[in-house]
């Protein structure tokens, strides 16, 4: 399943308030399914558990399909954002 890479995780809105931080560093496997990546983030930040069913992720500013079984490839320095339900407009 590949090496470990160090990524930056960003938190916004309710997820930021729950985590108490705008960002954190995380070591994850370089090749993961999106849903497993989200689980890794929630494992480190347990307070996100209550949002888990409604969170999306982006990698380097692009949405990833959280339900996809396809493996995504991460490299060190990548930015993953935890995206709670949006409410712009």
């Amino acid at each position: 399943m590949g090496e470990l890479v160090k990524i930056t995780v960003l938190f916004f809105a309710k997820s930021r308030e729950l985590v108490g931080n705008k960002s954190s560093e995380l070591e994850v496997k370089s090749d993961v399914r999106p849903t497993d990546l989200l689980q890794s983030i929630i494992s480190k930040h347990n307070s996100l558990q209550i949002l888990s069913g409604s969170l999306l992720l982006s990698i380097n500013e692009d949405y990833v399909d959280i339900n996809s079984e396809e493996i995504v490839s991460l490299k060190s320095g990548d930015t993953v954002a935890v995206i709670p339900p949006i409410s712009g407009g």
């Binding site: 916004f12 309710k14 069913g53 949405y63 995206i83 339900p85 409410s87 407009g89």
Partner: protein, 151 residues
């Protein structure tokens, strides 16, 4: 021309109108989202918006491209204000100019619907009873089945 912006400044409708104006166009359509003073019976004092700015701009650019795939339009401006937006002030503006009117009217409607579904921006309502609430657009692309707070 596509112009997208995320800003803490108040939105100037005159400025944006001039920005999208073109001698080739007979029509400018605009949608403005403004802060309401109430939500389901509660009094709203203010809204506060937060954005994932670079990604928000990127998603706004995608909306511009999708509009151009569907309609013949000249200029597009999409601006979202972040930070505190007092009641009656505009949080979002979408303006489109086109030679004829049907295109810009359709494009603006598409643009605001899509923005609410995809652009990573969040709204927190502050009520006069001291409580506050992060909102959720009914249009948003999240997998959740939670009860949506529409606006």
């Amino acid at each position: 021309m596509d112009s997208v912006d995320v800003t803490t400044e108040p939105i100037s409708v005159d400025h944006l109108t001039q920005l999208v104006s073109s001698p080739k166009c007979g029509a400018i359509s605009m949608f403005l989202g403004t802060t309401r003073d109430n939500f389901q019976g509660k009094n709203v004092i203010q809204l506060e918006y937060e954005a994932y700015e670079p990604m928000a701009r990127k998603e706004m650019q995608k909306i511009c491209a999708e509009i151009r795939e569907q309609w013949s339009v000249e200029n597009i401006a999409i601006v979202h204000r972040i930070g505190v937006v007092p009641v009656m002030e505009a949080s979002v503006a979408i303006l489109v100019s086109s030679p004829h009117r049907s295109e810009s009217l359709a494009a603006v409607e598409y643009g605001i619907n899509k923005l609410k579904a995809t652009v990573p921006i969040w709204k927190k309502e502050l009520y006069d009873d001291g409580t506050c609430s992060w909102k959720q657009n009914s249009e948003c692309c999240h997998v959740s089945n939670k009860h949506a707070n529409t606006s």
